[in-house]
Symmetry: C2
Subunit: 347 residues, 2 copies
Amino acid sequence: MLIKRFAQNPLITPADVPPSRSDYEVVGAFNAGATIHQGKVLLLLRVAERPKDISSDEQVAPIFDPQTSTIELFRVKNTDPDVEIIDSRSFFYKGRMYLTSISHLRLARSDDGCNFTIDPTPAVFPQTKYETFGIEDPRITKIGELYYITYKVVSGHGIATALLTTTDFKAFERKGIIFCPENIDVAILPEKINGKFYALTRPVPTHIGPRAIWIASSSDAINWGDHQVLIAPKPDTFTAGKVGASCVPIKTPDGWLEIYHASDDNDRYSLAACLLDANDPSKVIADARQPLAQSEADYETQGFYSNVVFSCGAVQRGEAITIYYGAADQCTAAANTTIKKILSTMA
Amino acid sequence: MLIKRFAQNPLITPADVPPSRSDYEVVGAFNAGATIHQGKVLLLLRVAERPKDISSDEQVAPIFDPQTSTIELFRVKNTDPDVEIIDSRSFFYKGRMYLTSISHLRLARSDDGCNFTIDPTPAVFPQTKYETFGIEDPRITKIGELYYITYKVVSGHGIATALLTTTDFKAFERKGIIFCPENIDVAILPEKINGKFYALTRPVPTHIGPRAIWIASSSDAINWGDHQVLIAPKPDTFTAGKVGASCVPIKTPDGWLEIYHASDDNDRYSLAACLLDANDPSKVIADARQPLAQSEADYETQGFYSNVVFSCGAVQRGEAITIYYGAADQCTAAANTTIKKILSTMA
């Protein structure tokens, strides 16, 4: 067995997370960045919430207003001819996409990596005009004493990736947008290599090009260049739809081990893995020939958006790897594996 | 009259440009970067070419092969059910976009800014795996003794912007992709401001966000960050469709003058202008309330792709500005105007 799901899965459900305000309900607690901080496993959850009083005949988009620092509601009737309902996550109004929930980032801590205590209030809440539709899918990279947190910012301006830094997970410093629209699923490597930071990125091309994993480099983690394509979807396989970085790469004797996500032509998600050259991570040494994991358990195949297993972080203890992952865009689950098992999925 | 078209327009037509090989024909000589070099007006033309022997019942995409350094032809019959013909510029095969021509960059020089001598051979030809569908739409920025040339790279990996540098327009150094897919219409400001380079960029968002002009900054012109939105399309106006940088910004006493392009909901192109703060070009001081120019002349309203006026460069002599522009994706034309007239289009 390549991975062993925790018997306690799902570890965190929406019901476990208090909403940021009493008239809202949490609909997702998922896609958490993961790290070790002060001896504890720390998850930075994406918490998606929405107003409680939504009737079934309308679409409601909660939108943060940076001027007033409050969430305003954009409501339209399902019968409005300008409304097009896509799925549980989004709808179109007059050709523009809106999200049915708004996400913030929330901390959860655990001594054993399984039982988590969830903070009662958000750690990072939308603030800027680029975050009005929410902030999502953080990845945490520790370099020296500083934690670099990449996160997806969503607004009417587009979907991009911004950077936070922190030393204590109390004060977070915003470093602006590091990859402009449309770019998501960014994971910064946990060491500088020959003086450079490296990041895996996932551009979303409009006219030409697949949804592939790219790599960029930087001297300061804020300004990025030398973009190169790394891993592209493979037609007629479980990665045919798209691929994107999931976890922060893990250093191994063989190179950088990256657990990434893929979806097939039916939008079924998998976790997969590849190995990048230790001294030049723009070189792929080995890539997935089979999935590391696919949606299978009930909490993965059914949820807010079904058939998704999507990781933003893993924790390493020697050979042992615990992958934390979002299940069906709703809950947080975990699975154990080993570096050796992950390597066995590659060719 | 806001602009005065040259009586000699179009200044350069495809017939004026020898193809890079005898079995090809030039179909476009347009979207030229412009600068002054050694006392002459220098244009770096985008030259689009394709094989001569294309029959009317097929679609042919010329594709550069970096392994063999030759152009291979991808041919499909119009009747093939997997073929979808979009317009003169591109077609889809099995859902993937291909271009009907391949572009390189070619130098043209002039003493008077009107009569140009065109180099017999390409200045910069596709070379890397990111350039297999061609290289396009250069913008030339001189800072100190170095010319920075941004250019669009097109391949099956996507449409992105890369950087060339040169001191003499003989040897060009490739600096890699500076803005990953999908990002086009990049113009670097001609001075460092408070130690930073600035560039206007045009992300092409897939899911959310308009085709707007963004700005980024850099310490080295290679690694870019702090992306911010600058100017967005305005609904129900001549910029409703999209906006993007055209010329390299021009320094004026009032701030940075940017001549940009816009298209309306019917894809009719305009030139427009805005003014950016001298010390912080991420601040818009004034923006177009009317077009500076729209497709009007025959060579603009009819051509390879009609109703396009698209500039990649202008030349300044004191108050006088000569805008070089691509007309109908086919020819190069020019028009004179003044800083004062351009400012009069703004509010």
